[in-house]
């Protein structure tokens, strides 16, 4: 488990992270979203001990990560801005990882490379941007680290490779009990792979929840009653949004679906349809509850 408490980090006078608190469960995929400059990369770089925090604590399995080689053996970080040694082949890079990580699996590395049709003997500098990202992903996955930190993971990957990568990452999480933190400024990119989502805003986690809860506890309803009605008609429900066109209203409701359905049926509706919500819509309404406009935050 990664436990972050009261984390602060400034670059000069600019505060990037401010009293950030966050717990990331083991064996899960945690999606961290936020606008550019929200502090996502900084947070990952601190967890990976690339840079040092100003204050607070970052504990991995209850041990401080800073300057701790044993803990760092459990962490693999794939940064946004990739780096390869000049003149190195993909295999050379793998051997570097192998020398660094005790659990590095060269066979698994080759298996993934084959799956992605990457030539391990070719020089990395001859690869395209997307292929370079694949090389880094493959190397990172083959470390078999317990915690993997992916910054803007799918940048530059085409949709096919992106989906394939998501499957590989999900499989890794399941089969090897890996905990993964992924960042993106695009919510849609993370919604089909993450178990939990955290929204980073102005140096702190503004909102976090597991996706299942988010999706099952909020729904969109299209409703029409025989009599005239307005928002007050649904006082017994937690209505996040209400809009009415003619005799049909669209309502976003938060709560358990069974209870809500029972209460709505009791109002004897002419029309009652439960419509699916995208994760982005869920976030938008959650932000509105908190008094933020989603577009300002992400």
């Amino acid at each position: 488990m990664i436990k972050i408490s009261n984390l602060n980090k400034s670059y000069g006078k600019h505060k990037v992270l401010e009293n950030l608190n966050c717990n990331i469960k083991t064996n899960s995929i945690y999606g961290l979203i936020g606008a550019n400059g929200a502090g996502k990369s900084t947070l990952l770089r601190i967890i990976a001990d690339v840079i040092r925090k100003d204050s607070g604590a970052v504990l991995i399995d209850d041990r401080e990560v800073e300057d701790n080689e044993k803990v760092k053996q459990k962490v693999a970080f794939l940064p946004d801005d990739l780096y390869f040694f000049p003149g190195y082949t993909m295999l050379d890079m793998a051997k570097f990882y192998q020398d660094m990580y005790k659990k590095f699996d060269l066979d698994y590395f080759k298996e993934l490379a084959t799956m992605l049709k990457l030539d391990v003997n070719a020089k990395v500098e001859t690869f395209s941007k997307g292929m370079k990202r694949q090389v880094s992903l493959v190397c990172t996955l083959a470390t078999n680290a317990e915690y993997m930190l992916f910054d803007e993971t799918f940048d530059g990957l085409d949709p096919v490779i992106r989906n394939l990568m998501k499957k590989i990452i999900a499989k890794q999480m399941e089969s090897k009990c890996t905990t993964i933190i992924m960042t993106s400024h695009n919510l849609r990119e993370l919604e089909d792979i993450c178990d939990n989502l955290g929204l980073l805003y102005k140096g702190g986690i503004l909102f976090e929840s597991d996706i299942d809860t988010l999706k099952t506890n909020m729904f969109k309803v299209q409703i029409s009653l025989k009599e005239e009605f307005d928002k007050d008609t649904f006082k017994d429900l937690e209505v996040l949004s209400f809009s009415k066109t003619g005799s049909v209203a669209k309502i976003i409701i938060k709560g358990e679906r069974e209870n809500c359905e029972k209460l709505l049926q009791a109002k004897d509706p002419v029309i009652l349809d439960f419509l699916p919500l995208t994760l982005e819509e869920v976030f938008i309404y959650e932000m509105e509850v908190l008094g933020y406009e989603f577009n300002q935050v992400v």
Binding site: V50, Q73, P79, D81, L82, Y83, G87, Y88, K95, M100
Partner: protein
């Protein structure tokens, strides 16, 4: 510290592997260039002995460049964000990264120096036309390895503090030079505030200025040689100890600072502006000091300040990539005032140090060495500074006759009396040594030398008592072959290595002996006519060489139009007439070809025929009718037969004694 945790071999292996091409070139460049330089010296017509400064010429540059480049190759990843993300996220602690790279750099330095050592040893065996003592190679290896490692520790420390390569250059320079520069300016060389020492002898006072032999670190010593014109001792144990201790200090400090380093700082010069301004101010320290020394006129000061301000702004552009003009001017003013304050404070402190007074009874002994004599070294000419005269009368004599540099500079043009420029070493009863460059009356100097030479007590300490294991002998600008050198060495050994101790020698003495001992090259001229046996060996060798040149050489000797002279030896004295002939006649060439194997009788009248082609060519022969006839027939400019020489110069002959 746990060494197993601090050093990670796998990381080092990978780090070296990633730059193996560049590192290979870097490691090979010093031994290759040094070898090429030695080959060039060997082929040179003038160089027969490789001196310390000459041998280390490449190393002197390498000492500044090599460690810096190695530090950037191994640890320079911290200057780029993506490489910082990559390396620092690896399961290896920052301390381990730093220490492993530190050791890696030392290994590369050792490798380069060992290769230089091996290639030089091979050169010293293979290249026969120069004298490259093994002792010099080993001493250079020791000194330069320590110096390289020291510089490397400074560059690594600078790297932990800097945000880019240019800043690292500046910080390295500050670490290496600021403290010794300030110390040297005010105290050691006394360039800013010289301090007098009064020597109080019975009846008067002489004033000297102490000249301390700089014992700073090698990187500063070299710069100081250019900057202050001061000498330094190459193999200086104190300097080496200083470098070794500072290396440990810098390594420890660097490891701690690297662990605490703000790794996000990889764009600007420093993480904080305070550090940037402080370092910028320190770079201006020499400018302010030098400006103060150079002058105090209003216009001059205004120009200097404008130039400094331009530098101040350019510094920001180059190192920090941005200029904050609203802060620049006030901070510049504060900086200049602060540095001027430091300068004035130094002067004030220096002025409060009282002049030192030394009386005869405080002196345990004085040694004197002629600076112009030991011309192969730049080490204060202190080859005979070990010979301490402790007779009070002689000490008084020396004290009453020394003139400091200022006196000489003020009066030399009006005072025509002969002065010797010497180094004196005054050993006080307290054990302290004081060195000074002074001028001394030529007659007094001769008296001192005579006193040392004739006194058994001092002659036992004389420099001839060197270890002659590493020895070479040159004759007419060429090293003698090994076999001949060994024969000569045996003769010299029988003679207890009595070598001439003076530079002003009779013209017939042209054989030089080189000895590498006590970490220094010593040179002395030995007289050819030490004895008959020695003369015979040398004359046979030279005649054979002349024959070889005349028969096999590619020079057109007949067309030589100058530098052919004949010297005659009569009554134990060589007389050079400087008689030139326009070209060598075939008759004399034939004579030399026919008589090169003749045994020269040293006790008969001799003629030396000296020519200059690409090198010195000498031929010895006894005077005989055939030769006289040939010489008479030549168109000599004022040639005199030996008999004529005797008649004309009979009074002069006794004034130039044979050694």
């Amino acid at each position: 510290m746990n060494s197993t945790k601090l050093f990670n071999f796998k990381y080092l292996k990978q780090n070296l592997k990633k730059s193996k091409g560049l590192l290979t070139i870097l490691v090979l460049i010093i031994p290759v260039l040094t070898t090429l330089m030695l080959i060039s010296i060997n082929s040179s017509e003038y160089d027969v002995v490789v001196e310390t400064e000459e041998y280390n010429f490449i190393n002197y540059f390498g000492m500044y460049i090599f460690p810096f480049v190695v530090s950037v190759i191994l640890t320079g990843y911290i200057y780029k964000k993506n490489s910082v993300d990559f390396i620092n996220s690896m399961p290896i602690s920052r301390k381990t990264i730093y220490f492993t790279n530190f050791i890696g750099g030392i290994l590369l330095i050792l490798l380069a120096q060992i290769l230089t050592l091996i290639s030089s040893l091979i050169c010293s065996i293979m290249l026969k036309d120069m004298f490259l003592p093994v002792g010099l190679i080993l001493d250079s290896f020791t000194v330069m390895t320590i110096s390289y490692i020291f510089t490397y520790s400074a560059t690594m420390l600078a790297l932990t503090l800097s945000g880019n390569v240019l800043t690292q250059v500046v910080v390295t320079a500050l670490i290496l030079f600021v403290v010794p520069f300030v110390h040297c300016s005010f105290v050691n060389s006394g360039i800013i505030a010289e301090k007098n020492i009064n020597l109080n002898y019975n009846g008067g006072t002489s004033t000297i200025i102490e000249t301390r032999i700089p014992e700073y670190t090698m990187p500063f010593n070299l710069i100081a040689t250019l900057f202050y014109g001061s000498d330094y001792t190459f193999f200086n144990v104190n300097s080496m100890i200083k470098m070794a201790v500072l290396t440990v200090v810098y390594c420890t400090l660097g490891t701690i600072l690297f662990n605490k380093r703000k790794m996000e700082n990889n764009l600007t010069s420093f993480a904080s502006y305070k550090s940037h301004y402080l370092v910028k101010a320190l770079t201006m320290l020499p400018m302010v000091f030098l400006a103060n020394i150079a002058g105090t006129e209003g216009v001059y000061i205004a120009i200097v300040i404008v130039l400094m301000f331009i530098y101040y702004v350019l510094y920001d552009f180059v190192l920090n990539k941005k200029v904050q003009l609203k802060y620049t001017l006030p901070i510049f003013v504060v900086t200049i005032l602060a540095l001027q304050g430091v300068y004035k404070l130094g002067i004030e402190i220096q002025s409060r140090v009282p002049e030192q007074n030394i009386s005869t009874n405080e002196i345990a002994g004085i040694a004197v060495s002629n600076n112009s004599m030991d011309y192969t070294t730049t080490t204060n000419g202190n080859r005979s500074l070990d010979v301490l005269i402790d007779e009070k009368d002689m000490i008084e004599k020396i004290m009453s006759n020394v003139l400091d540099r200022r006196y000489y500079l003020d009066s030399w043009s009006v005072d025509s009396k002969e002065l010797e420029y010497v180094t004196i070493r005054i050993k006080l009863e307290s054990g302290k040594d004081i060195y000074a460059y002074v001028y001394i009356d030529g007659n007094v100097y001769d008296e001192i030398m005579n006193f040392i030479n004739t006194n058994e007590k001092y002659s036992a300490q004389k420099p001839e008592n060197y270890d002659f294991k590493e020895l070479a002998i040159s004759c007419r600008s060429e090293l003698l072959p090994t076999e001949l050198t060994e024969r000569l060495t045996r003769i010299l050994s029988k003679n207890n290595y009595k070598v001439s101790d003076t530079y002003e020698l009779p013209s017939s003495s042209f054989t030089e002996i080189y000895v590498y001992d006590r970490h220094r090259m010593h040179t002395a001229r030995i007289s050819l006519n030490i004895d008959e046996e020695l003369f015979e060996i040398i004359s046979q060798y030279l005649n054979q060489k002349t024959y070889d040149i005349l028969v096999n050489g590619n020079s057109n000797i007949e067309n030589l139009q100058a530098n052919v002279k004949v010297m005659s030896r009569v009554k134990n004295t060589w007389k050079e007439k400087n008689s030139y002939i326009e070209h060598l006649d075939s008759e004399i060439i034939e004579y030399m070809k026919n008589h090169y194997q003749d045994k020269c009788d040293y006790n008969q009248e001799l003629v030396e025929i000296y020519m200059y082609d690409k090198t010195d060519i000498t031929f010895f022969t006894n005077v005989n009718e055939e030769l006289n006839k040939i010489l008479d027939g030549l168109n000599f400019d004022g040639y005199m037969t030996p008999e004529e020489v005797v008649k004309e110069d009979i009074t002069e002959l006794d004034t130039i004694p044979v050694q």
